[in-house]
């Protein structure tokens, strides 16, 4: 097996134009407004690994996910999957072949399945689109096999999505993702809309499938406990940048970046260690007009002059001047 990473994201950046309409701008004499949703994000994922991005709303994690699967073109930077840059028009044929191997599971299982299609048609769509099976009978067999694989019954294929509960719909979405024999699945908050007992079923299923097919996951979530449970490596995002990246265990046991520490300290958890919480300071600033330098500096207890001026680079897994200069003791 090669040591080359399966997925490589290099200096990804995405800017959205959030200006008012032209006429309003003229009348109100306003400039165009831009929102930098993702800025300078780089990471790699090895084959068979689960890499997670965590962050609060507005941190840009879903935007990264959409760029990685190619639903959204990046403003700068590139995504390379198995050696193929997915936004390179010169390699369109290779990219098309790659598409089959990349799938996505979305947060809302009520919105991501076509309500007018029967489940068998939903799951068969990727098989047909990529010409993976020749005959209708083969397709039907494959659909039945996939339904069984995700814990449903082959006869469920004749039903419509509304006949299923949220957890079952997410199983259908997983079956659809597997239909094209995907190797890399991007999961954007796959269990956030589900109840905890159903969430446990889906997370267990995702793990079983990973063991069985050697799947690679990019797992997006705001839930730190879920991420800890699922991921080998984790990137913590804040206002469009990765502030800390590291192995799951190290990150949770020895968080470095002040934001990671704050998050871990703030999450209500059932472990009831009885630890005292430090009061969390402030809220996420407006991403249209982010703070200068390190965007976390207005909330950071370790802030000093340099943080207000310079954006800290991601070095040794942490983007923080104070950590780089050794001014914060390890947690």
């Amino acid at each position: 097996m090669s040591e080359l990473p399966f997925v490589e994201v290099r200096r990804l950046r995405r800017v959205f134009d959030v200006s008012k309409p032209w006429l309003n701008r003229m009348l109100e004499r306003e400039q165009k407004q831009y929102l930098t949703a993702v800025d300078d994000v780089s990471f790699t994922i090895r084959r068979g690994e689960t890499f997670a991005l965590v962050g609060e709303s507005g941190s840009g994690k879903s935007t990264v996910a959409r760029m990685v699967v190619g639903l959204l073109p990046p403003s700068a930077g590139e995504v390379v999957i198995d050696g193929v840059p997915i936004n390179d028009p010169a390699r369109a044929a290779e990219v098309r072949a790659l598409r089959r191997r990349i799938q996505m599971i979305f947060q809302d299982p009520y919105a991501s399945l076509n309500p007018r299609w029967r489940v068998e048609r939903i799951i068969a769509e990727p098989i047909r689109a990529f010409h993976l099976s020749a005959s209708a009978r083969e397709v039907r067999e494959r659909v039945g096999e996939l339904l069984t694989l995700v814990g449903l019954h082959p006869a469920d294929g004749a039903k419509f999505p509304h006949e299923f509960s949220g957890g079952q719909r997410q199983r259908i979405a997983i079956a659809r993702a597997l239909a094209s024999q995907a190797e890399f699945i991007v999961c954007d908050e796959p269990t956030s809309a589900l109840d905890v007992s159903v969430q446990a079923q889906i997370l267990n299923l995702m793990r079983d499938l990973q063991d069985r097919f050697g799947l690679t996951y990019l797992f997006i979530s705001h839930n730190l406990a879920v991420v800890r449970h699922m991921a080998n490596r984790i990137g913590v995002m804040y206002l469009g940048r990765i502030v800390e990246i590291g192995g799951g265990r190290e990150l949770f046991v020895k968080p470095q970046h002040p934001y990671t520490r704050m998050l871990l300290n703030a999450v209500p958890d059932i472990a009831m260690t009885g630890r005292l919480r430090e009061a969390v300071q402030g809220e996420i600033p407006n991403p249209i007009n982010p703070p200068s330098g390190c965007t976390f500096h207005p909330r950071c207890p370790f802030v000093f002059d340099r943080c207000r001026r310079e954006v800290p680079p991601l070095e040794a897994g942490v983007a923080c001047h104070a950590v780089a200069e050794g001014r914060i003791a390890a947690a």
Partner: protein, 328 residues
């Protein structure tokens, strides 16, 4: 023994539909003492929000309270006429809902809404009420309240809005606060601030709190006691530490095991097979028995009544069997 602020006995709430009567709440009983936080957890459809709505008298047709009693400081409130109930709401029972944007009127400033609520319930002049509103905003941690009081809800961030809603809920010094998923719409770093705030303010005032949420983490850190609901019934109720650390009811055991924790890493999460039954198809006997690993014959026939066990109440035949064995 002090009198409980809220006492609910054998509460039943039904929804009449074309396809028959759905029992959303079926025989729920609990008490909340002054200054106590009772957490109510359960998955979607377990009836936790309906329980909250019944207490504040906000069950609207086709729903109806079909039986049982709700007492506020000993006085029955479930059969009050709507006008009398309206006076209790806001004055004696404060409410905090999930979405702070829908609980605030977007057309009025935060100050106008606070002053109106204060003056409806307390005999204060406009000036005094405004003074009190500013104090309250300061107390819930809104910076520069003298200035912010004249802002509109859209000018506040989500966390700040929820603070305003808390100020509104507390402005008439209620005896009981019903908080229905107060932190669900908020980011984690803000969530912790809001939980701490609710807990501190209520402890200071001796206000009883009924905290409805699906988030066990929030309950574990906030509540004194917790009620685990399943299909409109309480499966287990007791001190939060016991129920979270050593749950007795098989559903509670499954629920706690299903939650990934930040501490330690389980390889697999506990899985409860199936999902909660629909209200139209609640199984006979114990509602949980088709999903229960430990179910036996009696579970599918006879509904378990709450048994006292290790300082809590558990509605499960397993513990009745244990009692019977111990007695023999």
């Amino acid at each position: 023994m002090t009198q409980p602020v809220l006492s609910v006995r054998d509460l039943k709430v039904e929804f009449v539909t074309r396809r028959g009567v759905l029992k959303a709440i079926d025989g729920v009983s609990f008490d909340i003492a002054p200054g106590e936080v009772l957490g109510v957890v359960g998955e979607s459809g377990a009836g936790k929000s309906v329980t909250g709505a019944a207490v504040i008298g906000l069950i609207e047709p086709p729903g109806r309270i079909a039986g049982g009693e709700i007492r506020l400081k000993g006085e029955r409130i479930d059969n009050l006429p709507p006008e009398a109930m309206r006076r209790i709401r806001g004055k004696r029972i404060g409410m905090i809902f999930q979405d702070p944007l829908t609980s605030l009127n977007p057309l009025y400033t935060v100050g106008e809404q606070l002053v109106e609520t204060i003056r409806t319930h307390l005999p204060l002049s406009a000036g005094q009420a405004r003074r009190r509103a500013i104090d309250l905003l300061a107390e819930v941690g809104i910076p520069a309240p003298e200035r912010r009081i004249d802002g509109y809800p859209h000018e506040f961030s989500g966390g700040m809005r929820q603070r305003v809603v808390i100020a509104l809920a507390l402005c008439a010094e209620p005896e009981l606060v019903i908080a229905d998923e107060p932190t669900t719409a908020l980011d984690v770093s803000v969530q912790a601030q809001i939980i701490t705030l609710i807990k501190r303010l209520c402890a200071e005032r001796g206000t009883a709190v009924m905290l409805v949420t699906h988030d066990m983490g929030v309950i574990a850190e906030t509540a004194d006691r917790v009620a685990v609901m399943y299909s409109g019934r309480i499966a287990e109720i007791g001190p939060v530490r016991d129920v979270v650390k050593r749950p007795l009811h098989p559903y509670a055991v499954g629920l706690m095991g299903a939650i990934p924790s930040l501490e330690g890493q389980a390889d697999r999460l506990v899985q409860i097979r199936g999902s909660m039954p629909r209200l139209s198809a609640i199984p006979p006997g114990c509602a949980f028995h088709p999903r229960c690993e430990r179910a036996f014959a009696r579970c599918s026939v006879e509904r378990p009544s709450p048994l006292d066990r290790d300082g809590r109440k558990v509605a499960c035949h397993l513990y009745d069997e244990a009692q019977a064995e111990a007695a023999s």
